[in-house]
Each structure stands twice: as C-alpha cells, then as structure tokens.
C-alpha cells in the first residue's frame, strides 16, 4: 500500500525537501520512458523463454525418470541440485568458470566447432541469462511433473497398450491430459518466481550491456538505489504488481482446482 502512496510523489532521497505530491507524473513518465518499455519487454521475453524451455525439458526428463531406467532415485537426487544451489553461487560459477572466454570450460570444449573464444556473457547476454535460469528451473518443473506422472495408474496404460495404442498415442491421449494440471501449476508458480529474477542478472550481466538484460526488478533496483528516485521506483513497483496479479490469479485458480480434485478423491 505504501508503494502506491509513494508512487504519486516526486521524492529524491538525496534532495531533502524534495518530497511533494506530483499526481500521475511518475506514471506518465513511465509510459514515455524508453527504459521501462525495454524492462517490461525483457521481463516478458525472459519469463516466457525460461518457462517454455524448462517445462518442455522438465516434461521430457520426468518421463525418462518415470520409465524403466537404472538408478532412478539417484538420478532424481542429482537433478534437483541446480534448483537447490544458491542462485548467486550458481550464476557466478557459470559466469567465471564455465563461460569465461579465456579460462572457462565451455569455450574450450566448443573450440572444435569454431565457437572457441565467444564471450557469451557480453555477446549473448540474454541467451546466457535464459540458459542459467532454465538450468535452475528445469528441476523444479521436473519434480512437479514427475509427481503427476507417478499419480497415474499404470494399469490404464497397460490396457491401452493391449488395445493396440502406440506409445505416442498413449502419451498424448492418456498421460498428457492427466499431467496437464501439474504442468500448468509448475508453469504458473515458476513464472511468479521467474518474473522476479534478480540474483542471476545482478551476478551475470548487471542488467547490461546497456539495458539488454534489465528486467523490472533490476530497473527498480537501479532507479531506487543508484538514482535514489523513490517516487519513480514505486511506480515501477506498481507496474510489476499489475503484471504479477494477472499471473497470480491464474495460478491461484489452478491451485484451488487441484485442491478440489484432491478433496473429491
């Protein structure tokens, strides 16, 4: 609530006495400001790319772990590690020891393919952030989808096979509809977190180069703590809230519907 209140004021922390009511100035500044449009766009691109890729990968890996393979439990244990690692630590490891153009492992491994001395973090900043975030969120999606797959009754699949359904048909007609609510839940909860991505951007690119990877939380951080413009930062916060409310409403609907299905059982 205080955020909304401050967002109507012109207030610079470095200028005492600059606290005064400015009405909708902060908002009209937002609409015309290039930075904020870039930040909204970057937030959307980052969120959509990360969620789409991690759901697809998560579904594939969950299906693998749900089939007959050796060492399932151990595989799952190793898979969830990227999600548990401190995000700041993970981002730093990627940036300095894996992607560093001189000492990193990946450029070294990619040398035979002519991608040797690519400076991933500076040349392809958004790709780098997306890759690191997908690495982090795929295990999350996998866990939720795997739980969905395991709640499936194997006899139904067996029956379908006896009736002559191919593996692909069985997956599309039986498995997918069953795990759909789990996929939706994972995607929505995940996007609520990914919209807020701050740690890895701070560590990997610091929003740059230029504003290429500045998303809303990072822009707010810059405006509030590098520019000390509280009113404008609050207005950015309000925009972030509006975006989040849209996603959250969908997420809550899915949550409640899963709870209701559970209750009916």
């Amino acid at each position: 609530m205080l955020t909304i209140y401050y967002s109507f004021f012109n207030w610079n922390l470095l200028k005492p006495g600059s606290f005064h009511f400015s009405g909708l100035d902060n908002y009209s500044a937002l609409l015309t400001n290039e930075s904020i449009r870039t930040a909204v766009l970057n937030t959307v691109v980052l969120t959509v790319a990360v969620i789409a890729l991690s759901v697809v990968l998560g579904l594939a890996i969950a299906s693998l772990l749900n089939s007959e393979v050796f060492g399932k439990g151990f595989m799952r244990t190793l898979m969830i590690a990227p999600f548990l690692i401190m995000p700041t630590a993970g981002a730093l490891i990627w940036k300095d020891t894996l992607l560093n153009p001189i000492f990193g492992l990946l450029p070294y491994l990619l040398t035979p393919f002519g991608l040797g001395r690519v400076d991933w973090v500076n040349q392809y900043p958004m790709v780098t952030v997306v890759v690191v975030e997908v690495w982090r969120w795929t295990p999350f999606m996998m866990l939720i989808i795997l739980a969905g797959l395991q709640s499936q009754n194997p006899e139904i699949l067996e029956a379908a096979r006896v009736d002559g359904a191919s593996a692909l048909q069985a997956f599309r007609r039986i498995t997918l509809p069953l795990v759909r609510p789990f996929i939706e839940l994972g995607a929505l909860l995940g996007s609520l977190f990914v919209v807020q991505t701050f740690d890895s951007i701070y560590m990997l690119t610091f929003g740059g180069p230029g504003e290429d990877t500045t998303n809303l939380p990072f822009l707010l951080y810059i405006v509030a703590f590098q520019g000390f413009s509280i009113g404008q930062a609050s207005a950015i916060g309000v925009v972030a809230v509006i975006i989040t409310i849209i996603v959250a409403t969908l997420a809550l609907r899915t949550l409640f519907s899963i709870f209701q299905v559970e209750a009916r059982r």
Binding site: T77, A89, I93, F103, F259
Partner: protein, 275 residues
C-alpha cells in the same frame, strides 16, 4: 524371451540417455566442487585443468578468512525466521483447517496473495521503514522480512497437512474430555511432524538463498552469505578456486537439507497441492 530382450535393450538405451541428460544438468555443480579443490593457478589455466591432485587449501583459506561472519548471519536470519513462521503459522493454519473461521477461503486467498507480490514492489517502503527504525544493516530487519515472506507459504502448507488428520480423532479426544492444550500437543503436533519438516525446509531454502532484500538492506555488519559471493564480481582479480570453494560452502546447507528431505520438497514448493 525376445520381448524381454527388447525390453532390456530399450531399458539400457533410455538409461544411457537419462544419465547423459542428468550429467549435463549436474555438471556445473560438479565443476564447482572440482574448482574449489584446485589451486588458484590450476583454476585459472587455459586450457582448463581436468586432471589434478585435489587440495583443501582454498576451503581452509575461505573458512579462516572473512567468510564465517557472513555464514553465521545467514544461519541466524534463516533459522530465526523459520522458527517464527512455525510459531505464527501453526495457530493460523489450525484456525483455517480444523475450526474454520468465517470466510476462511477469503483469508486463505489473501494470505497467499501477499506471497505472490513481487519483492520489487515492497522494497521501497521496506527500505524507508528500516531506515526510520534504524534497522538498516541489522539482522533483525532480515529476520522480520523473511518471516513475512514465508509465513503465507507456511500457513498454506501446514493447513494442507492438518486437513489430512481424520476429524474423528478430534471428536474422540473431545469426548474423552481432552482440553484444547491437550488436543494441540497430543494430537496435532505428533501427526504433522512431516508438515513441520516440509515447512521448515521450504522456509530455510527461500531465506537462505534470498538475495534481493539482503543486498539492498544490509551492507557489512548483517550481510549474508550471498553478499560474500558478490565481492567476487568486482575488484578481486582472478580467484576462481576461492570463489568456487566459497560458493560450495554457501550452497551446502540448502543442498544437503533438500537432498535429505526430497519428499517434503515437492509438497512444499507447491504449497501442499502436490503430494
């Protein structure tokens, strides 16, 4: 015979594919450990050193240097806030699950909507509040903020566990003349121990790894483990082995807790919706 052989072959094939994928995902973690066990010249070599004699010297250096205070701050902030979540969350969850108050669905909705608010939105007012209360760079501010972030999650989770207790149990206890205190201590607490574990785990993960508030509200005295890692971005030159050792140590508590309590992890992450 032939079908089982085909089955075996496909099992081996998919196992190989699976292990390759898992290896790719786990590799950065493995590489972090390996880098931490190298010496500085080995960690900053081109091409990268693959074979080397492991040494714990960088770990010792990190532990004997200025890292421990950061680690202790993280421990204080996350353990204290987790305990507070349990203390405040359990009564609230009880009121919503066992003896539903009026409009409890709305209350639930309101609770969780506060969790979904972007951190960015509340940063400015919280910063000003902390400044006015002289709580900037004070671990108390982080404890309070982490408690409020995790409380809605805790309430939802604990509620989902409380709902699984058969109502007959409470009936029976009440018929036997058990008091409210007895009901809580003898029935609720023992039955939702897994719930308390799941809630603690999820609170611990989120508060231990939290960076956004920590970087903005603390600077030196109350700085937490992620902030120690920030110091490696700038001005320290090439200290890759030390960086990797610090990153390993900073990630260790949550990694271990998550691995030990894998079952609780799924339930916690989905706020009790998925078992």
């Amino acid at each position: 015979m032939t079908t089982s052989m085909v089955g075996m072959r496909s099992k081996i094939l998919w196992s190989v594919v699976g292990w390759l994928v898992v290896f790719v995902f786990f590799f950065p973690v493995l590489w972090m450990w390996l880098e931490g066990l190298k010496t500085e010249p080995q960690a900053a070599s081109s091409p990268p050193t693959i074979l080397f004699v492991p040494t714990l010297s960088e770990f010792q250096e990190v532990l004997s240097g200025d890292f421990p205070p950061f680690f202790i701050n993280s421990a204080i902030a996350s353990i204290a806030s987790t305990l507070l979540v349990l203390v405040f969350g359990l009564p609230a969850a009880y009121a919503l699950a066992i003896r539903p108050v009026k409009k409890s669905r709305d209350v639930l909705f309101f609770f969780i909507s506060t969790r979904f608010l972007p951190f960015a939105a509340s940063l400015v007012p919280l910063y000003l509040l902390a400044r006015d209360l002289q709580l900037l760079d004070n671990i108390l501010a982080l404890i309070l903020i982490y408690t409020t972030i995790n409380l809605p999650l805790g309430v939802w989770l604990l509620r989902s566990f409380l709902l699984e207790i058969p109502p007959d149990l409470f009936e029976a206890a009440r018929v036997d003349g058990a008091g409210f205190r007895h009901e809580i201590l003898r029935i609720v607490v023992p039955l939702i121990t897994p719930g308390l574990a799941a809630t603690s785990l999820i609170c611990l993960i989120f508060s231990w790894n939290e960076f956004f508030y920590a970087v903005n509200l603390t600077s030196s005295v109350a700085a937490t483990a992620p902030l120690f890692l920030v110091s490696f971005i700038s001005g320290r030159g090439l200290f890759y082995a030390k960086l990797a050792a610090a990153a390993t140590l900073a990630s260790l508590p949550v990694l271990l807790a998550g691995w030990i309590a894998q079952k609780q992890l799924i339930r916690g992450l989905t706020m009790g919706a998925v078992k």
